[in-house]
């Protein structure tokens, strides 16, 4: 119920939303949890396994129980913590994991069978009959278990990713963080302070402290205002630092519009930040622990600090009759704050026998809670003292305080493990666990406000701090009650009890890592923030060790759940990767082309015409144009590297197997590059344009790789060579003009003769097209008389249109990648389908291209035993009569079983040529000596066996007369 003003609440602004179809009214500033509590609704969810009624336990992001689905349709988000979700008009919320309703959940029957559903039950049941598992058991279990549901629709909403830099990153805006930010900000340091909450303040908003003579919440507000006014300070609220990474970089998720009824158009749902900080202060505070006792999970049982948070921030009392159960002095505050708000406190129960809280309330020391009642919400509880009987206490809310756990998570992200401190019975961060990061305040086990302020100021340069309380916590460890029946919950989200830990121990899962996986304690979306300590304490008792000897499991990013879409940012769907478009793309679109992706490039695969309905019809026609008239194809995408300098010759001789240094001006040579290990890396051409000027080409997808490789060779292997090179792939639009009519087309276009004297096969000529200077190469990938014409890319669109017009006039036209592939297979020309990284020059029949007259990279290693001779799989051609061959099929002798022992090789490229039938290029053991042999191509994926003959890989014009002219 709402009992007073709250520092977050704007009482004038009513907000209407719905939960499970029922209308609920709250106030601006309420979270979903505070609004429900204000409306006296304690029941908020059902537990994961047993479907027990559950309520909210915390007031922060560590919440295990109050999880909801928010939104409908594609915008639906599951597992939203009601303690974090700010309400807005029209918000639609639904409880999870309950059917048909929150109040009457059919699967609560699981709770009655809890004896059979303890930790690891699925390893021991559902074993028989085996066939039932996949069809029956698994689908049932899957439907019964699980938390929230995804909509299954295409998601809506965008996420940004962004970078931020600062001198000092402060994680957490409570007293320690605020003081550090003020101190550093006032001296001009570049500060970034991030807090997961809607505003800075932390516990200062949740306690009735005084700071510097004013209410702590007012001090926090003034501090935040000062930080906002400093231009060198960046305040990021609703921003959770999610992970610590290498290079002093932190990940953080900022909730931008999750709390807005109508986000402005163009605004993202959230932003994932990478923050690079010279120094970082972890001031993320601590989480209050619970104490385990029988049926300690009823709605209404919550953290004592949460009761205070709801009171001060939201003006809400979670109950009308509150009892307090504590093992430390901090818990007593709850009595004071509740009574000051006019709420009845029914009892203060302290586990410690020798304390005197001195509060005006029924006080029982040296006592523990041993039973609770109230199925859909707490109604009463029993306490007992050792040697004494039970006492009955009436309460609809039990505020539990078991001490505080510093929030060490981030400090474990780089494999650090926290350190135990006996005096606070808690783990604290290990110094240096994250380079450049220091924990301060409650995150470092300093729990008083004064200590937090002092630590913050000192970490940022020192100075005066305002006066504040400095009370010790005085905790005496008490983890769970003993000697009573009833399940005692540790991990509320995964429904793990003290009994489950004992069972794991009994079954010999005694390492803390095994206990975690066997019981699933700490494996839910809250990563065990409230449960890990309790689990370790039980293990310590069972093994007779102190808690630190038991060890800890680790924490991994993200600190709290974030949408996976936030990690993708804008790189999704059509924009998953950058797109690269060729100079002829606009024309290709006009011609209705379909595309194939080569690396990031979109290359036209075929250009449909007339009645054509399949790619094959178009490709066959285009092949016919190239073989019979002239075809034009965009080959801009192949890498072009411009190499200059007196040392260019020497570098090229080092990179290529061939002696490029003998290449004459105006000539082009085909070349292979090997890797250091002697295997082929790439093939391409090298053209000499001038005395010390070369242009080399690479295959499309390897252009960047070859460039990087050349940078390595030049900088590391030959740093003194006078040679420089740079990519010119993008500078030149380049088009293949191929076919018997190609010369005629180009002579007409360039208005000059192009006979063999002017431009021989494998030659180069600078040319003019109007005012534009171009480059003409006579090279052929189709096996026909062919050229490649290059102009600066801005003229590419204009040029391809002219070329298409002239080709059409000669009975030809555009051709795409499918036709190009058929043409080159017919000629036995290889691509990276053949030079896939595991073949040598000799394997592809180019052993003689490794010049004996000079060294080159890879030459020595290529001569190793095992890389030559009859044992190698060598490039061959295959021809089949009765079926299309497929790349990936393996080759076997006739009548031999398709097995690893009988495997003779595999097909790398295949096509059905319109004139030559079913062809393939393949690697076959000792292939060059087996021409004429009949073998079988076995395709296990498609279930086919095709008889074929091993032949020379050049299926037509073996002497190359057409291209040599």
């Amino acid at each position: 119920m709402r009992v007073r003003e709250g520092s977050r609440i704007d009482a004038e602004r009513v907000v209407r939303f719905s939960l499970n179809g029922k209308a609920v009214v709250g106030r601006k500033g309420d979270t979903l949890a505070s609004a429900l509590l204000a409306n006296d609704q304690r029941l908020m969810g059902r537990s994961f396994k047993y479907h027990r009624p559950r309520g909210v336990v915390t007031a922060g992001s560590e919440e295990p129980n109050a999880l909801f689905e928010i939104g409908t349709g594609a915008g639906q988000v599951p597992n939203v913590r009601g303690t974090v979700q700010e309400i807005f008009d029209g918000m639609v919320a639904r409880s999870q994991n309950c059917w048909p309703s929150l109040e009457r959940d059919a699967l609560a029957i699981n709770d009655l069978m809890s004896r059979f559903l303890s930790a690891g039950f699925y390893y021991k049941t559902f074993m028989w009959p085996q066939a039932f598992w996949e069809k029956l058991y698994e689908p049932i279990i899957r439907r019964a278990a699980g938390l929230g549901a995804l909509s299954g629709d295409e998601p809506v909403g965008d996420f940004d990713k962004a970078w931020a830099h600062c001198d000092l990153l402060i994680i957490g805006g409570g007293p320690a963080g605020l003081m550090a930010a003020l101190t550093a900000g006032r001296t001009g340091q570049r500060v970034l302070i991030a807090d997961e909450d809607v505003r800075l303040g932390g516990r200062l908003d949740a306690e009735s402290f005084e700071l510097g003579g004013m209410a702590s919440t007012d001090w926090a507000r003034e501090a935040a205002a000062e930080l906002d006014s400093l231009p060198n300070v960046r305040v990021m609220t609703r921003t959770t630092v999610t992970g610590a990474y290498d290079g002093r970089t932190f990940g953080a998720y900022e909730r931008v519009s999750e709390h807005l009824a109508s986000p402005p158009a163009g605004a993202p749902v959230g932003t994932f930040w990478r923050i690079v900080a010279d120094r970082t202060l972890l001031a993320g505070g601590a989480h209050e622990r619970m104490i385990a006792f029988p049926d300690n999970d009823r709605p209404g049982i919550m953290q004592a600090s949460a009761v205070r948070s709801y009171l001060h921030r939201y003006g809400v009392a979670p109950g009308r009759k509150v009892a307090v159960f504590t093992n430390n002095d901090d818990g007593w505050r709850t009595v004071d704050d509740l009574q000051a708000a006019g709420v009845e406190v029914s009892a203060l129960i302290d586990t410690r026998p020798d304390v005197e809280p001195g509060r005006d309330v029924r006080t029982v020391t040296g006592a523990q809670v041993v039973a609770t009642r109230g199925r859909l919400g707490l109604e009463s509880l029993d306490i007992s003292k050792p040697g004494g009987g039970r006492q009955f206490i009436s309460a609809d809310c039990l505020a539990v305080s078991g001490g505080w756990n510093p929030s060490v998570h981030l400090t474990c992200h780089m494999n650090g493990r926290p350190i135990w401190r006996d005096d606070i019975a808690a783990f604290v961060p290990k110094p240096g666990a994250v380079p450049g990061l220091e924990a301060i305040g409650a995150a470092n086990g300093a729990f008083s406000t004064h200590e937090a302020l002092r630590a913050g100021a000192d970490a940022a340069g020192g100075g005066e701090i305002p006066a504040a309380e400095d009370a010790p916590v005085n905790v005496t460890p008490f983890w769970h009650v003993t000697g009573v029946k009833g399940r005692q919950w540790l991990d509320l989200q995964n429904d793990v009890t003290v009994k489950d830990i004992k069972l794991a121990h009994q079954e010999n899962f005694r390492s803390v890592e095994h206990m975690k996986r066997y019981t699933t304690l700490g494996m839910a979306t809250d990563q065990g923030k409230l449960s890990n300590m309790g689990g370790l304490a039980v293990m310590a008792e069972l093994t007779g060790q102190p808690i630190p000897s038991v060890g800890t499991t680790t924490f991994r990013p993200p600190y709290t759940p974030i949408p996976v879409a936030a990690l993708a940012g804008r790189a999704h769907r059509a924009h998953f990767a950058p797109d690269r478009y060729t100079p002829s793309h606009q024309l290709s679109e006009e011609r209705g082309a379909s595309y194939v992706e080569a690396g990031l490039w979109h290359r036209a695969a075929w250009f449909p015409q007339g009645n054509e309905t399949t790619w094959k019809q178009s490709a066959d026609r285009e092949v016919g144009w190239v073989r019979g008239a002239v075809g034009v194809c965009d080959v801009t995408t192949l890498g072009k590297i411009d190499v200059q300098g007196p040392g260019a010759r020497d570098l090229l001789d080092l990179l290529y197997t061939g002696k490029m240094s003998t290449l004459k001006e105006g000539r082009v040579r085909y070349g292979l590059m090997l890797r250091e290990d002697g295997f082929v890396m790439d093939d391409g051409t090298c053209a000499r344009l001038g005395p010390d000027h070369y242009v080399i080409t690479t295959t499309t997808a390897a252009a960047g790789e070859v460039m990087a490789y050349m940078d390595f060779c030049a900088q590391v292997l030959k740093p003194d060579l006078p040679v420089r090179f740079i990519s010119t792939t993008e500078q030149w639009a380049q088009f293949a003009v191929a076919g018997p009519q190609s010369r005629a087309l180009l002579e007409g276009l360039l208005d000059q003769g192009l006979n063999d004297d002017v431009l021989p096969f494998m030659g180069y000529l600078p040319v003019q097209i109007g005012d534009v200077a171009g480059r003409l190469f006579r090279i052929s990938f189709s096996g026909e008389l062919a050229y490649e014409l290059a102009v600066p890319t801005r003229y590419g669109d204009a040029l391809i249109r002219v070329l298409e017009d002239r080709a059409k006039a000669l009975g030809g036209g555009l051709y795409g990648m499918e036709a190009l592939n058929i043409l080159r297979i017919e000629k036995g020309f290889i691509t990276h389908s053949e030079i896939h990284g595991r073949v040598t020059a000799d394997d592809i029949g180019f052993g003689r291209m490794v010049s004996p007259a000079k060294d080159c990279i890879g030459k020595v290693m290529s001569q190793r035993p095992g890389l030559h001779g009859a044992e190698r799989q060598q490039l061959v051609g295959l021809r089949a009569k009765d079926g299309a061959l497929k790349a990936g099929a393996h080759i076997f002798g006739q009548g031999k079983r398709a097995s690893a022992e009988n495997d003779q090789g595999y097909i790398t490229s295949a096509c059905t040529s319109p004139t030559l039938g079913h062809l393939a290029l393949a690697f076959v053991v000792n292939g060059r000596a087996r021409h004429g042999e009949q073998v079988v191509a076995h395709d296990g994926l498609h279930g086919t066996d095709i008889a074929c003959e091993i032949v020379d890989p050049v299926f037509m014009d073996p002497d190359g007369e057409k291209m040599r002219g």
Binding site: A164, H165, P578, Y581, Y795, V802
Partner: protein
């Protein structure tokens, strides 16, 4: 023999088909005016000679027409002369596509596209870095930044820039 060649090839921009200029919030996005661009890479031992022709070769910065572009390499936004034998020169005028982003909010946009320290990026500063997952060059302008990527990537750069401009503008009205 062929017919008389009277072919005149017209030029198209790398951003043909993309909406430019774009105004969003207080920001403005326009295609960079850069008529020519050449790469200049002095040969070993020739840096002084090249500086004699072009002026001081800056590192990580721009000096008039000279733009640092990487190890031992500069871009020159003017016609190169007098560099024969002392530097490798290539035409890069068609290889790059560049956009100028100006107006308040440009730093927030830059922060969404590259890992640079956007708040500290100065006019005339030059960085070779990742821009929207593409290899790029970033040049500081007086009230904004010039972003360059290889020509074929132009549409992708334009798309992500406009998205980021819209995002930054939309968020600037969120006060709390």
């Amino acid at each position: 023999m062929g017919r008389k060649c009277v072919v005149e090839l017209s030029a198209v921009s790398p951003f043909a088909g993309a909406e430019l200029p774009v105004s969003c919030g207080g920001m403005h996005l326009a295609e960079t005016e850069m008529p020519v661009l050449f790469s200049v890479a002095p040969y070993p031992g020739q840096r002084t000679a090249v500086e004699g022709v072009l002026g001081q070769l800056p590192i990580g910065r721009r000096n008039g027409d000279l733009i640092w572009s990487g190890l031992d390499q500069w871009f020159l936004s003017a016609d190169p002369e007098g560099l024969d034998g002392i530097a490798a020169v290539t035409d890069q005028s068609d290889a790059w596509a560049m956009l100028d982003l100006t107006g308040e909010g440009w730093r927030d946009v830059l922060a969404r596209l590259s890992p640079l320290d956007a708040d500290r990026f100065e006019a005339q500063q030059v960085a070779r870095t990742e821009v929207a997952h593409m290899a790029g060059i970033v040049i500081g302008l007086e009230e904004g930044v010039r972003l360059g990527i290889l020509r074929s990537f132009a549409r992708t750069l334009h798309h992500h820039l406009v998205d980021a401009m819209q995002s930054v503008t939309a968020q600037s009205v969120l006060s709390e």
